[in-house]
Symmetry: C2
Subunit: 488 residues, 2 copies
Amino acid sequence: HQLFRIGDDWYFLFVLGVLMAMISFTMDFTVSKLQKAHRWLYQELGDNTLLKYLSWIVYPISLTAFSTGFAQSISAQSGGSGLPELKIILTGVMMEEYLTMKNFGAKVVGMTCTLAAGSPIFLGKVGPFVHLSCMIATFLGKIRTCVSGDYENKNKQFEMLVAAAAVGVASVFGAPISGVLFSVEVVTSHFAVRNYWRGFFAATCGAFIFRLLAVFNSEQVTLTALFKTSFKIDFPFDIPETFYFIVLGVICGVITCAYLFCQRWFLGYIRRNRIIVKLMATDKAVYSALVALLVSSITFPLGLGQFMASRLTMKELLTSLFDNKTWFILSQNASLAKPPKVDPTNLWLEWWDPNFTIFGTLAFFLVMKFWMLILVTTMPMPAGYFMPVFVIGAAIGRIFGEVLAYLFPSGITSEGITTPISPGGYALAGAAAFSGAVTHTLSTSLLVFELTGQIAHILPVIITVLIANAIAQKCQPSFYDGSIIVKK
Amino acid sequence: HQLFRIGDDWYFLFVLGVLMAMISFTMDFTVSKLQKAHRWLYQELGDNTLLKYLSWIVYPISLTAFSTGFAQSISAQSGGSGLPELKIILTGVMMEEYLTMKNFGAKVVGMTCTLAAGSPIFLGKVGPFVHLSCMIATFLGKIRTCVSGDYENKNKQFEMLVAAAAVGVASVFGAPISGVLFSVEVVTSHFAVRNYWRGFFAATCGAFIFRLLAVFNSEQVTLTALFKTSFKIDFPFDIPETFYFIVLGVICGVITCAYLFCQRWFLGYIRRNRIIVKLMATDKAVYSALVALLVSSITFPLGLGQFMASRLTMKELLTSLFDNKTWFILSQNASLAKPPKVDPTNLWLEWWDPNFTIFGTLAFFLVMKFWMLILVTTMPMPAGYFMPVFVIGAAIGRIFGEVLAYLFPSGITSEGITTPISPGGYALAGAAAFSGAVTHTLSTSLLVFELTGQIAHILPVIITVLIANAIAQKCQPSFYDGSIIVKK
């Protein structure tokens, strides 16, 4: 297994990595501008609740309706994440239409709109980026065969698709190693070690350029992690806490089973329900708009939204949940008040409510997002389902950690040393465990470290992920397998 | 690919992980006591240089001679690391004698002696631990077939061997994820994703118990990394430094090619040289003793050893090289003096010399260890070759980083921000790149983070590893393949 066996492979992978990083960065940039515009509009409308409500719901409704309508009109295969289809393609089934450039265009535009609809819609971009990356790889492969005149064999094409899947993940999270592992776990069943470097190299190019663009755009001063945390590294957790990480693993596993079951049942239901089937056959955009109307009304920040931190974007949600501070301690300060607009240095205040307490808001967030996620995944537009699962997992871990901090205010004693519990560590473990269990992957345990730039919690996180996965794999097919089963 | 498909697999893997962790910990414990005794003896002998010299050389000579004689008398297959043979076994060739319990006993005792001989001999334990772990797995497999009465199929046995290899690495370094990846890269060519959890689970058990034992033994207060570093996490490196990381990758790649070529040539030479062949046929222990006499004489701390930090153990060498401080700056302090015995809080002082400067000692260390490592790897006793390569890589990176710190005393400017260069980051990258290139693996880029507990340097380290690997894989077969070629 030689590196650079075929001289031009690495040019190809380099171009793929750079292209995907640029697409990912441009999309993030556009989305953040669009979201800023929405936030500005919402702020400027002053005290008129009705106007505020309209400005809150019109944005997601119009964007999701456009995303659905546009993507579906160009290519019927552009909906959803694309990962289940990719999995089928890699078993050898030909589905050429899934990897065309037409589909690519539909998916890029659709994805930008989906993401710009923001946290009320609560969808991500990992799955579609894996799909986009595979489309670009197929396109580049065609160019290569044209230029070199060689016949492109199936084997080679599959090798490149696996590498492309790694690029997709890496250019979204800036996480090269877990990008490779996650894509291998999700899309393939057998893996040749000699292909390993391809994924590695391409993913590194993708992640490097993606992080570099953030520096050039003055968002950051140097190449750092996407969601940088500041946990204590000398004493991240105490040994008896391992027991609670195991309990968290069991909780995540059980919630995963419930979620996967409900998800599959609901996917089946909308294929049986006559009214929805009729609507889906003719007016997919209307269905999306109706769902968007429902979820955005519920998340309206002056209504129920105030109890579920709905003013935060997906990124802010995750940043706040991985916060190093203990919210329970912070919330005992009597002079707290909710700021009129989101305070970037105190994101946790969005989770605070004088009557509900942080436990109430976190629990309410979880209960509402649980069914809302199941609902929004049925929208027939380009969208990723990993990120929302990841955020929900972080919230599960955060509430668990905060409860522990409440039960053991001075920390758990071991060998005379007492250090307070850091709920952020549990949020990390919860995110890895829940997302890992839902997708039946273990590499999420590495992903959280590449995402946060700190690796001190490695052993408890892996244990949590293993336990949650054991329960989920025992009881339910994975999220991707589940949608394949339903579609059959 | 279900977890717990066969109910008893995970018991098996759990027992394997726990056993290997206990063996690894017990061996480390014994070795550290034996090395302390040696250091104490050396200190107590006072000013008599001859006595000191004798006490310095007798220890490694007798231990290596015993290790060779004992291991060879019990089992002729116990010499070396065992990784090349394992690689052959996993391609399907039957080599039953390599996985017997007799071999196990010979290897455990031999390894303890080899490691106790310390840094003059400069050998590690990774390879043999992978081998030991596979022997235990085979033994446990036999017990299982006896108890359950099932026929143990070859496939199952191979699956377990791959998992066992992961346990071997994980229980040496306390690094579960890179343990899995490293063992997959080194021992297999194809990998079934459904086996992934086996290696993951067993390696986590191994790493967890190994770290836990260190806490119970009061070596550490909580579960942390083996070689914990304290790099800046806000600004670990500047973007223009990426260029120097690339240069470091090229340097590591070139040195790797030189090393692998010399290594293979010398392995061939001792098989052709009549005197050595004769000696090896009858008195292997004498050969080991002669080599030990040579290398321990050269490393004598009152002789040449003072210019190559030879008073440090392997662990202390690595800890000192990963140091966050810049030695070049520290060494400009005029009132420095070499302490009479090793100062654990200022390990770097061992690298300092008033005439040679730190650059001189680092360069001398590298030149001497280069040929000494080639020499000691020919000793026919149980020994690992990963750790010495890793330490040499760290030294390459450290000298490169120190030169940079010398050239750019105030750091490399980018966008107006100037931060001093941290040579420890280059040591990290050098260790990963050199060890990765020598073994033709990419997962060393993850291993360094699991070892040090900090992941901020991830992008430059991966880039360095990729470049070093590209050069090495282009020009030379890997260390393990090289010894297979020579033995053919």
